[in-house]
C-alpha cells in the first residue's frame, strides 16, 4: 500500500526554512549532507541576534546525551532544528519530545533514509541496518530474518520488525 498515510514519517527533504518565532535555538546536524543547511540556519539565527547552541557531526550517542541535558535545562521559547539522515533525526526528535518538546517547536530536515533502526518484536533488540521498508534484515539479537514493516514508533525511534518466514514451511519461497 502507499505509505502516504501510515505512521512512517514523511518529513521535509528540502530546507523548510527557519522558524523565526523562537527566543533561543539549538541546531543539530548529522552527516555531511545536512551540514550546509544547518550552517545556513545557524547564520540566520545569529543575524536575528538570538542565542544558539549548535553541533555539527560528532558521535551520535554523545550528541544525543548532550541534547538530553540541553532539553532538561531549556526554557519555553526554545526551538530545536534537526538535519540529517532519517534514523538520526528520529532518534534526536525522540530525545526532545520525551523531555517535553512539542512538534511545533521542532524543525526537521531529512537528507536520506537509507538506514533504519529496526525493533525486533520477538527478542526486544533494536538493530541499525541499511534496509528499506518492506525488505528483510537480520536481527542482531536473535538472528531471525525480520520484515521491516511500514510502522514506526516515534517514541522508540524504530521501525517494527517481525519474523518474515513464520508462515512458510522449510524450502518454500517467502
Amino acid at each position: 500500500m502507499g505509505s502516504a498515510h501510515t505512521s512512517v514519517p514523511r518529513w521535509p527533504t528540502s530546507d523548510p526554512g527557519l522558524d523565526r518565532t523562537g527566543r533561543s535555538y539549538a541546531i543539530l546536524s548529522f552527516g555531511p549532507d545536512a551540514r550546509p543547511t544547518a550552517e545556513g540556519w545557524h547564520r540566520q539565527v545569529v543575524e536575528l541576534g538570538r542565542p544558539v547552541w549548535a553541533r555539527h557531526g560528532g558521535s551520535a550517542d554523545e550528541v544525543l546525551a548532550e541534547l538530553a541535558e540541553r532539553v532538561e535545562a531549556a526554557r519555553v521559547g526554545w526551538r530545536l532544528m534537526l538535519a540529517g539522515p532519517q534514523a538520526d533525526v528520529l532518534a534526536a526528535r525522540a530525545v526532545a519530545t520525551s523531555g517535553g518538546l512539542l512538534d511545533a517547536e521542532i524543525t526537521l530536515l531529512v537528507t536520506d533514509d537509507r538506514h533504519r533502526r529496526v525493533w525486533c518484536s520477538h527478542c526486544d533488540t533494536t538493530t541499525l541496518a541499511e534496509v528499506a521498508t518492506g525488505d528483510v534484515t537480520g536481527c542482531s539479537g536473535c538472528g531471525r530474518s525480520l520484515l521491516v514493516h511500514h510502522h514506526v514508533s516515534r517514541r522508540n525511534a524504530a521501525y517494527l520488525g517481525f519474523m518474515v518466514d513464520a508462515e512458510t514451511i522449510d524450502g518454500e519461497a517467502v
Binding site: M1, S7, L102, W119, S121, H150, H151, R154, L160, E167
Partner: protein, 325 residues
C-alpha cells in the same frame, strides 16, 4: 428464537450486517442489546462468561512471561486509577451478588467471589495493588484495555494492558497518536474513516460511551496473537492449508472483538475495552444464517483486506467449507 444453541453462540456478537464487509466508522451507542439469530449480546459494557476464570489465568501467564504487555506512561497514572474505579463500580453494579466495592475515605475494599479475591487498596497508591491499578484491572475483566490521552489535537495510546492482541504489539504502539496506531491498516486513511473516528472520539464528553465490532480469524482458540509471539502462531496459518475439511472447520475460528469506548470522568481519558470472542467454524455452522453469511463475506472480501487480516492462505478453503459442504 427457535434454535437451540450453546451458551457460547447465544451471546456471540456475530458482526456482519450484510453479505459483504467493508471498513467504516462503525460506532453505535453502548448498552443497547443486539438480537441475533442465536440470542443476543451487548446489553451491558462488561460481559463475563464461562471462560472468565480461564481467560484471566491465561492473562496472568502471559504477563508473567512478558511484562511488556502492560504499559503505563507516567502521565497516565490518574487515568489508570480512574479506569480501575470506573470498571470495578460497573462490575459491582452488574453483579451485586458476587462483587462489591466499598469505600472508606481513600481506602477501598474490592471483593470478587467469582475469583475468590478480596483486595484492600488506597486510591493513588500504585503499590497497594498487585500490578498497579491497570495491572489489577486486567486481572478482573476479560477485556484488554487501552487508555488514550487527549492533547495537541490528537488522542494518544499511552497506557494499556493487552494480552490478547490480534496481530499487533502494545509495547511497540504505546505512546503513538491514534492515527499512527492505525498506520498499517489499508483503506481506512484514504477513506477518511480513521480521522473521522478520531474527531468523533475527541468530542465524547465525560461519561459518554459507544462501541464497535471488529473481526478477524484465527487458527485454534488462541487469544494471544500478539506480534511478539508471531513465531509461535504464524506457522498454524500455513499448516491449516493442508488440513482436511473436518480439521479445518474444527480449528479455524471466527474472531470478533467487541470494543467499547468510554470517556472517563475525572481523568478525561478515553478507555478502550477490547473483548475478544472466538467461535470455531463447525460450531458457528449450527446457525445456518451465520454459516452462509460468513461464507459469502469471506468469498467476497477484497484481497488487500484479506491480506491485512492474515486470511489469504485459507479463506477460500473456509468459504468453500461454509458454502459448499
Amino acid at each position: 428464537m427457535t434454535l437451540s444453541v450453546s451458551p457460547r453462540l447465544a451471546t456471540f456478537p456475530f458482526p456482519f450486517r450484510a453479505d459483504s464487509y467493508r471498513y467504516s466508522t462503525n460506532v453505535e451507542p453502548a448498552r443497547v442489546p443486539v438480537e441475533t439469530e442465536a440470542g443476543s449480546w451487548g446489553a451491558g459494557i462488561l460481559h463475563l462468561d464461562d471462560d472468565y476464570a480461564a481467560e484471566l489465568a491465561e492473562r496472568r501467564r502471559i504477563l508473567a512471561a512478558d511484562p511488556s504487555r502492560l504499559q503505563v506512561l507516567p502521565h497516565m497514572r490518574p487515568a489508570a486509577w480512574d479506569a480501575l474505579l470506573t470498571v470495578l463500580r460497573e462490575l459491582h453494579a452488574q453483579h451485586p451478588g458476587s462483587m462489591s466495592l466499598e469505600q472508606d475515605g481513600p481506602t477501598f475494599v474490592w471483593r470478587n467471589s467469582l475469583l475468590g479475591v478480596e483486595q484492600r487498596f488506597t486510591e493513588g497508591a500504585d503499590d497497594s495493588l498487585p500490578g498497579g491499578p491497570l495491572g489489577f484491572l486486567g486481572s478482573q475483566i476479560q477485556d484488554d484495555v487501552v487508555l488514550l490521552d487527549q492533547r495537541e489535537g490528537s488522542l494518544w495510546a499511552d497506557a494499556g494492558v493487552v494480552t490478547f492482541a490480534a496481530d499487533w504489539s502494545l509495547g511497540f504502539d504505546v505512546g503513538m497518536r491514534f492515527l499512527e496506531v492505525h498506520g498499517p491498516v489499508p483503506r481506512i486513511h484514504e477513506e477518511g474513516i480513521i480521522s473521522r473516528a478520531e474527531r468523533f472520539l475527541m468530542r465524547l464528553q465525560p461519561g459518554e460511551e459507544c462501541r464497535r465490532t471488529n473481526w478477524s480469524m484465527s487458527v485454534d482458540r488462541r487469544l494471544d496473537q500478539s506480534t511478539e509471539v508471531y513465531p509461535e502462531w504464524g506457522p498454524d496459518r500455513r499448516a491449516i492449508v493442508d488440513a482436511g475439511p473436518a480439521e479445518l472447520a474444527r480449528r479455524l475460528h471466527l474472531r470478533v472483538e467487541v470494543q467499547h469506548l468510554i470517556r472517563l470522568g475525572a481523568s478525561g481519558a478515553i478507555m478502550f475495552l477490547i473483548r475478544t470472542y472466538l467461535v470455531a467454524l463447525d460450531e458457528l455452522a449450527s446457525v445456518p444464517a451465520w454459516r452462509e453469511r460468513l461464507g459469502r463475506v469471506l468469498a467476497e472480501l477484497p484481497e488487500d483486506m484479506a491480506d491485512y487480516k492474515g486470511l489469504v492462505r485459507y479463506r477460500d478453503a473456509a468459504a468453500h467449507w461454509l458454502l459448499d459442504t
